[in-house]
Point group: C2
């Protein structure tokens, strides 16, 4: 017996409270189910997968309240903030296939909201599934759609836009929408989880609830909210242009690089540094981006032929060089002859590029390389796409790349 068939036969819908008869009797909320496993969210918040067969039965105890993508009418909870949830997919909006153990993206706003009933109890939640993809498939086209959707929600009065997003490329997307959106009227928060929301150990719930809390502050930046440590004690607010996934599986995988997080969220919100405040203007989107830009981490086998191919097939290149911003000297002439902007960051990730210290750095500077201080390689790549969407004049490109726009470059401090 297939779960979908049994659900259909029983006239049940995801979100209904049901009784499942299958060897034992189970009571809970019906979750998206696949193959021969019915997934139930139990009263205690845990999910279970129950194997069914031809004799299994479902009885609907209570139908769920809504069927549309809008989970609550935004006037429902008087005086409470409006949270616009724009789901893009990823683990935070995914389910475990209990047959294979694999995780798949969720398909409906309900699937996401199920994981955080507390959210709809405290806030007026508007939810929408914009994409249902794993974040490794997010591209510039997705960022543009997302930026427009965010602006629409902000300009419709949302007190916060919360974006469930896969963690794999969340840092790239947060950087992209950071550059594309101007005059934010409320916080834009990307939140992910490192455990799927139907697993007991999921961090989805805490990160979404923490995100929503920002609606009650005057912060109006693009940020990433993720666990601050492995246990459920607090979340950290990371600036969207400064954050990088630094662990493949830990809950506190996201780190602010070259700076402190903006703040932390537990019972209250503590800010560690200045942030951008709400704008009184309308939020606008500038989604012009040049997509033919490459990001290359230098390695000692990066031969001139390969590098030449990269330069010839792109309109701009960001290099994550070694140390203070170096590549092997056999690449310098190719760089000198290139007609496209070549931007230097460091594969050390931490620290600043400084190309005046060593002869290689100085040669690279004279060949025209644009050093971008302490910007992350991934952020520099996104920014170069954005900048090349605005201008093709080299001097303007250089100026825009080396000037701080949205917190991606911090001022120099004197060190030794």
């Amino acid at each position: 017996m297939n779960a979908k068939d049994l659900i259909k036969k029983s006239k049940a819908d995801f979100g209904d409270e049901i009784e499942l008869f299958s060897k034992k009797i189970y009571t809970g909320v019906l979750m998206p189910s696949h193959n021969n496993i019915i997934t139930l969210k139990l009263k205690n918040g845990y999910n279970i997968g129950v194997k069914i067969d031809g004799s299994s039965k479902i009885r609907v105890i209570k139908k769920k309240q809504e069927k549309t993508g809008i989970l609550r009418n935004i006037k429902h909870l008087k005086g409470r903030p409006v949270i616009s949830l724009i789901s893009t997919g990823g683990t935070i909006a995914s389910y475990v296939d209990y047959r294979t153990g694999a995780v798949h993206p969720a398909l409906t706003a309900e699937e996401i909201a199920f994981s955080v009933p507390e959210l709809t109890e405290k806030y007026n939640v508007k939810a929408k599934v914009l994409f249902s993809i794993l974040s490794e498939d997010m591209k510039a086209g997705h960022w543009k759609k997302l930026a427009k959707e965010i602006a629409k929600e902000l300009n419709s009065g949302a007190d916060a836009v919360v974006i469930p997003h896969g963690t794999d490329t969340m840092g790239y997307t947060s950087a992209a929408v950071s550059f594309m959106l101007k005059n934010l009227t409320a916080p834009v928060i990307l939140a992910g989880s490192q455990r799927s929301s139907d697993r007991p150990s999921s961090d989805a719930s805490m990160n979404l609830l923490s995100s929503a809390k920002l609606a009650e502050t005057d912060l109006a930046e693009v940020v990433v909210v993720m666990h601050g440590e492995t246990s459920d004690t607090y979340s950290l607010i990371h600036r969207g242009t400064r954050v990088r996934k630094m662990h493949s599986s830990k809950r506190d995988a996201f780190k602010t690089i070259n700076g402190k997080p903006i703040g932390r969220i537990d019972e209250t919100i503590t800010f560690f540094q200045d942030y951008r405040k709400k704008s009184n203007d309308k939020t606008i989107v500038n989604d012009r981006m040049e997509e033919k830009v490459a990001l290359i981490y230098f390695f000692p086998g990066l031969i001139p032929e390969f590098f030449d191919y990269i330069l010839k097939n792109n309109k701009g290149v960001v290099i994550a060089g070694t140390g203070l911003g170096h590549v092997s000297s056999d690449l310098i002439e190719i760089i000198r002859n290139a007609k496209i902007p070549i931007v230097m960051t460091s594969q050390c990730l931490n620290g600043r590029v400084n190309m005046n210290v060593y002869s290689t750095g100085r040669d690279l500077l004279s060949a025209g390389v644009i050093p971008v201080e302490d910007m992350l390689p991934e952020t520099a790549w996104v920014k170069l796409m954005y900048v090349l969407g605005q201008t093709t004049k080299m001097e303007e490109i250089r100026k825009m790349m080396t000037e701080n726009m949205v917190g991606e470059i911090s001022p120099r401090t004197m060190v030794d």
Copy 2:
């Protein structure tokens, strides 16, 4: 007046104790000098650069003792360990050009030894300049020469081989010689510095002295010894296949990733974990390496055409994928059709790849990708070059890549 001319005229040599008359009188050891600046090491260990003109004069007070690359006869200090210094260049073996402020590689063994007189007082030091290059120019050919030179020194009875090396690619080189050398009879230590040795704040001295101390232990691995924190309190011993430069300028830039350092060195040596002990056999070198291997950090703009070019022009590719080891799904078919080994690591650097969790990972596995646990992308790249030097059979490549050889893969531990 040019420094070189003045030195020649005065019959002075680098290493001589001299008096320099130039407006004031300075006394110190003559260091390599360039342009119109004479560099002196003062009694207090600090260096100064003195501008000279036509009226400047040098008087030699005391000639230096040796003129050859061998700084001490290895029988000189009875019963003391023999340290073989094989210099490759880099900041640890470099000088500041006081005219431009730029740093240049040193050219002689003397230039290196000058920075650490304590070394020659405590040990029998043999020194040799193998290369004088900045480490961004180190390639596979250099690793091979270096590995042979190390083996020669070990087989000639060295109690430690210490390799001053530029920090930019020190992690690549340490991984390379880790794979190429078998049956080490003594420790092989790469040491760098983040400040050139003629600057007062140099970390060269402490790292070289700490390295030499390992001669008195039974450790016989390839390791990197660098500052453990920003001040001169202790150095850390990092396994050669586990270490990555994680800051562009700090002294404690080097971190052991996915594990603890092997130990720390201050007055004494404290080991934090097991290590390989001295071999009684002769050290052998296996320097067969396939150089046509690429290391690619995935980014959301890595288009199929570019990826296809990479696969077609290499004999093997290491991907630093997102998260648990992913790339966008539009690359999977290209991978499936590739005839070369494609190895997966994580650009998170920390944590393990696990390609059974998400559908993309499972698809990549079925397409033939080789996941290499918690190996660093850079180490996996070096290892794939080494493995392809040994075999071209896919199943042997897979087996060798996924088995731990020299500490590059740690056993799985259970996590949630």
